[in-house]
Amino acid sequence: MSRTLHPCRLTVNGEPIDVRIEAGETLLEVLRHRLALTGTKYNCEQGECGACTVLLDGVAVDACLVLALSAAGSEVTTVEGLSAEGGLNPLQQAFVECDAAQCGYCTPGMLVSATALLSQDPAPSEHEIMRALEGNYCRCTGYERIVLAVERAAERTSTETSG
């Protein structure tokens, strides 16, 4: 059974990438299987758990629900692209300081959801943080430290911005 492969150009973490993919492949499958970007996780494959959250042109989406061909031409940011190789951005640093990851499996999706929020609103309220993270399941932490970490990152970033 031969399967037709279609060309697809994506910008992933700032780098233009050309892949040939099947029509039915999701962005999640392309990232993990074709591009070996395994930082993006998954659980439900039906848009509920948020583990596969990535930025698509700056908007947080469930990569399991996006057909990769429909994302052609878009900019995709995954957890691997949040900071320069070997470094941590302020949000990641806050996650480390607050011990906001235990098993760490939901963490990439959490970070991406929080990144989308902070890019829109650098000083969100607790309520806004909870709205931004409500689509991301975590079974380890009870969420307390995750919310704290996002608050801490926001405080630090807005302090830096306001000088």
């Binding site: 059974m1 395994t38 993006t40 996780k41 691997e80 235990q102 399941y137 009870g142 430290r145």
Partner: protein
């Protein structure tokens, strides 16, 4: 070390099992029973074999030996590698289809045609007692005697004192039946493994809590010497008990061996629901009190519904049964604990190991008794709770902590600053014992360049123990943590471990690491490196065994907690808003405060989910109605309490390093009874059936019984 580990997680560099690939790897997908109970009249694999990407379709017919289908299990080898003649739960694997990719394997698995003849489902104690035995007794060797009891997996009875005399003398008796539904662990990472045939045997890379138990099970199953099976535990994306023993590995290994190629099997979320569940329970409790409020007797009849195969359930039933009465002194007691087979997926360990069920009953009895006797609920507990040093029956370990103080800590903090809009407050006590009579061995090596390798059999589940133990070793050896490497959960390392469970690792492996460091320092001081220029220290810790103890030995320590909750109930919807939780843990000594608090918070929120929304529900045909991430409701960020306070009692009285005790499960233990007590205050209704769903709470408020 812990911060380095979290840094790895926040950059997506941690490799979980499905992030790994090995040369020549194929992918497997199971064909599963759509029925909870059905005879298999035929399996037609021809259409699947026609699929060009398919390399193997493994069925029971391929595996049958003279003794029948190979079976596995940690205690009783009752679970067939693939269903043979009959499926006993919805989702039981019937075939494993191996293909070039997972999507192709799933596609081809849909082409396997099974001729099913449905049989009646068994979902309750009553149905199990009335039904024909789920298991065929003739096929079982004599060692598996429990199977002769129809659908009763096993029954354990414990007791002391004269129950008859105590019943006659009791001034008050409280009687209630408590129940809890089947539940799912819901680790965000699903189950998975890669089985790689080697010249001498099998290499298994698996998201497993217990690499050494998995090695034993797999070497028996594959007729290999234990050393010819190498298990490498990957970091797990959560487990909570769901990834212990053997789950997907048996079929994957059999397929890999047949093909002579590596086979990866990673499940979907729905398949994980069908692979590991938490037992359901029905507990009939009778507790007698004298006129002053002292417990005169306890009488518990506990039925655990355990699913279709035994897995670790005999241990869950016996252990939580015996220790159901660990908290309060009772001069006379009887506990009968049974495991009952049902046509649901095998239940296995779940954070708390049965104690969550028994604490709900025992603490519920104290609440009801306090009302009956006109006592304050915490005061009634304080007058009955066992004092430090108190001994119980069966030569059990004397109480090793100040449990009264835990209750006082939780109560005083919750009462100190009451929220103005609170409707109810509840306080409850929980205690869990640790697995007895197990051993841990650690190896610590200092290389010629001064760097250190810490080898622990402990696996990394998210609890952070390997990193904690490596930090401990760095301190003991005077080496910066940046120069310490961890080898965790590998059977071919210099470490050996019983299992990573039961909050045991800080005590057992912690003591082993401390002993290994002492040996290394002695050799360093003596200037005696080995032939490789390395200094090596080995350490071991073994908890006491006692052949006369019903569980094989006394508990190495108690994991004791007191939990207080303050709630507001929305009278229009029945939803519970948890305003504050105070959680006090008898920690002995906290070795990593941030992680200890995080584990408590996580356990509490998991406990709140189980107490308010989590329940696996079945239709009239016995099929699961909500076995998916969409339909099974775990807590989201909105469900976390507005304020969570973790308190630790640190008297350095534990058996671990510097007096530490284990604490990873404690958060969950007393949540349900504390919430039930708060709900009673808020609604005037006693809740004895879990979960306290919005619908049930609404019906209680509006006087509509169901």
């Amino acid at each position: 070390m812990r911060t380095a580990q979290v840094a790895e997680r926040v950059t997506g560099r941690t490799r979980f099992v499905d992030d790994l690939a090995v040369e020549g790897m194929l992918h497997g997908s199971f064909v599963r029973s759509p029925f909870p109970h059905a005879r298999i009249a035929g399996v037609d694999i021809s259409l699947a074999l026609d699929h060009p990407a398919v390399r193997l379709v493994l069925t029971a017919a391929d595996l049958a030996r003279s003794a029948g289908i190979p079976r596995f299990g940690p205690l009783v080898t009752d679970q067939p590698v693939l269903a043979d003649g009959k499926a006993r739960y919805e989702g039981e694997p019937v075939a494993l289809v191996v293909a070039d990719s997972l999507s192709l394997a799933r596609e081809a698995a849909a082409r396997v045609v099974v001729d099913w003849e449905p049989l009646p489902a068994i979902l309750t104690v009553e149905e199990a007692m009335a039904a024909a035995p789920l298991h065929d007794p003739d096929r079982r060797p004599a060692a598996q005697e429990p199977w002769r009891l129809g659908n009763v997996m096993g029954e354990w009875e414990f007791g002391w004192g004269s129950l008859g005399a105590a019943e006659k003398a009791a001034a008050h008796v409280v009687t209630e039946t408590y129940s809890a539904p089947f539940a799912h662990h819901f680790a965000i990472e699903t189950h998975g493994c890669i089985c790689i045939p080697t010249d001498s045997g099998m290499r298994i890379i698996s998201a497993t809590q217990h690499p050494f138990i998995l090695r034993r099970i797999m070497s028996q199953l594959l007729d290999l010497a234990p050393e010819d099976v190498v298990v490498e535990a990957t970091p797990m994306g959560g487990s909570f008990g769901s990834k212990g023993y053997a789950k997907v590995e048996p079929a994957a290994a059999m397929a890999a061996r047949r093909l002579g190629r590596p086979v990866k099997v990673v499940l979907s979320a729905e398949e994980s629901f069908a692979t590991a569940q938490r037992e359901a329970s029905v507990i009939h409790a009778r507790t007698g009190f004298d006129s002053t409020g002292r417990i005169a007797f306890q009488d518990l009849a506990i039925d655990f519904l355990v699913g279709a195969y035994s897995d670790i359930s005999p241990r869950v039933v016996a252990k939580s049964g015996l220790h159901a009465l660990a908290a309060y002194h009772a001069p006379a007691a009887r506990v009968r604990a049974r495991g009952i087979f049902t046509t649901t997926p095998p239940t296995t360990a779940f954070r708390g190991f049965g104690s969550v069920h028994t604490a709900f009953a025992v603490e519920g009895q104290m609440e009801r008794a306090a009302r009956l006797l006109g006592h304050e609920p915490v005061a009634l507990r304080l007058s009955n709770i066992r004092a430090k040093g108190a001994r119980s029956a069966y030569d059990e370990t004397p109480v090793d902590g100040d449990w009264q103080n835990l209750l006082r800590m939780a109560e005083s903090h919750i009462r100190e600053h009451p929220s103005p809009d609170a409707d109810g407050v509840g306080v409850a006590f929980g205690v869990k014992t640790c697995i007895p009579a197990t051993r841990s061995r650690a190896r610590v090596r200092q290389r010629g360049d001064g760097s250190v390798v810490v080898e622990v059999g402990t696996s990394e589940i998210g609890q952070g123990t390997p990193a904690l133990l490596a930090t401990l070793a760095a301190e003991q050896l005077g080496v910066p943590v940046g120069r310490v490497h961890i080898v965790a959960g590998q059977t071919d390392s210099g470490s050996e471990d019983a299992l990573t469970a039961s909050s045991r690792s800080v005590v057992h492996m912690g003591n082993a690491v401390m002993a290994a460091c002492r040996e290394l320092v002695e050799r360093r001081d003596a200037g005696s490196p080995d032939a490789n220029g390395e200094l090596v220290g080995d350490g071991e810790y073994t908890a006491d065994a006692d052949p006369d103890h019903p569980l094989g030995g006394p508990t190495p320590f108690y994991e004791a907690v007191a939990t207080a909750v303050e709630i507001r109930v929305d009278r229009d919807t029945g939803l519970i808003d948890v305003l504050r939780t105070i959680h006090a843990t008898d920690a002995g000594l906290v070795l990593d405060r941030d992680r200890a608090m995080g584990l408590d918070e996580g356990g509490l929120v998991m406990g709140l989910g189980l107490a308010t929304s989590e329940a696996l529900r079945h239709g009239d045909d016995g099929r699961l109605l909500n076995g998916s991430s969409l339909d099974y409701r775990i807590p989201t960020v909105w469900d976390r309490p507005s304020e969570m306070v973790s308190l630790f009692q640190e008297n350095r009285d534990g058996p671990g390093p510097f007096g530490a005790k284990g604490l990873a499960e404690g958060g969950i233990l007393a949540v349900a009874p504390a919430l039930a007590a708060a709900l009673r205050e808020a609604t005037g209704t006693d809740f004895a059936e879990l979960p306290f769903s919005a619908e049930r709470v609404w019906r209680a408020i509006h006087g509509q019984a169901r």
